[in-house]
Amino acid sequence: MQISLTVNGRPYTVDVEPRMLLVHLLRDVLDLTGTNVGCDTSQCGACTVIIDGRAVKSCTVLAVQADGTDILTIEGLAKDGELHPLQEAFWNNHGLQCGYCTPGMIMTAYYLLQTNPTPSEEEIRHGLEGNICRCTGYHNIVRAVQEAAQRM
């Protein structure tokens, strides 16, 4: 099936199998491997991207469902070589170790800050509930989101 979508500001028209997941379209067809697959069962959030302004686990969406949408992935966050405040804040606060969960964490945090620019610690923890990190213990991730909220 042919679908058209915009990813990180770039328009694409691609032919996809009806059963292809959006995450595989991004990773295998568009070569945007920054979006990771951690579980394939919609639990870990490593595959989170922004679809039309909302954070979505891209392993839960068929590529064909993304027809006509505007998608933002981790690769599209930095503008003109300038890191996004969230990326800076994750770096500054040791909000990552292996980094596998990080693209998903950052995209979910991005959505959180769009909808709630000044979240409390509890709201941050609640907002990131769908994202699992096996390394950091979450403390520094929360700190990173707090710092980014202040800088944005």
Binding site: L32, T33, G34, T35, L83, Q87, W91, N92, H94
Partner: protein, 90 residues
Amino acid sequence: MAEKLLGSAIRRREDPALITGRAKYTDDLKLPNMAYVAILRAVLTPTRASPAWTPPRPKPLTESWPSLRPSTWPKAAFQAKCPWAGSCPT
């Protein structure tokens, strides 16, 4: 800033790639003629694959990478230790 190195947090040099999605994990590798392997496991735990059994052959990715089946495995693959030693059908 050498005097501050000890006891202070270091800015990690690997982070720029990790926070921008440029980092490469094993799952991101694409090599020429790369093939994927899927292992079909036994449905029942105390069973062993028999050389006589042939699984349904999945479509090979390319002509040069046919699917493997027990009859093409080395003999040693069937000699794996069985927890029910002695009572396992061979």
